[in-house]
Symmetry: C2
Subunit: 113 residues, 2 copies
DNA sequence: GCATTATATAAGCATGTAGTTATATACTTA
DNA sequence: TAAGTATATAACTACATGCTTATATAATGC
């Protein structure tokens, strides 16, 4: 039995995911925690733009933040009511691990604490 | 093995589905063909607004039109490259059959040919 | 304490979106 | 053929969105 979701909530979540930056962020976060500066490097946009995307995802509770020293790490919130729905979308998307791989090769991946 | 979809195509499709009117249309069309005037009655918006939503869905090939006399019927295009992805979203949505049910009770459902 | 780094927020701007009204096109029926 | 019904398109408008730059806040390290 699959988890159902209200039409209006579903449309809201799909709209959130209907942006290439946010969709990729969520796909990455589903596998790995990430900090803001990593996203800034992955996507070719300004830091405020990244913060604003993260805020939208956090506002609906789909991701959570945790400060670790100087950095703020974001992670997926699997307990969120929309997560099962989001997960069924993410399953259809190719892994974005190579984006973090590139950071590691450049030595800019933040491994903290 | 699930069908995969490019990130940019996925974001484009999710954006299309991230509107309550279009999402509901696609959910209905996944089960029943429908003509424009039925959608006009179901959603509380003008006929041009409905036509514009249908056009967006048709432009990516997700739905098809077929004229039947005076009416133009739309149907889902299961052969479309995005359909498997869309289907996995629709599976999580509650049936919208009651909307067509209401039309039948009012006697305004178009059964044609 | 001061400079540096990381992040968030505010403000402004250009573009996109969803709706409307007006009008054109196409089919049906008297 | 004329009137009515169904649909699409064009033009316009209000509002949303995603980006930018500027600035504020917070932690780090000298």
């Amino acid at each position: 039995m699959k988890t159902m979701i209200d039409m209006n909530k579903a449309a809201m979540v799909l709209k959130l995911l209907g942006d290439q930056t946010r969709l990729t962020m969520v796909k990455i976060l589903d596998q790995h925690d990430c900090c803001v500066c990593e996203f800034v490097e992955i996507f070719n946009v300004s830091q405020p733009s990244i913060s604003q995307h993260l805020r939208k995802l956090r506002d609906v509770g789909l991701i959570e933040e945790e400060r670790k020293g100087q950095w703020i790490f974001y992670s997926i919130n699997k307990a969120n009511e929309y997560y099962p729905f989001v997960e069924s979308v993410l399953e259809r998307l190719p892994s974005q691990d190579e984006k973090l791989q590139e950071l590691e090769e450049k030595g800019t991946r933040i491994i903290c604490c």
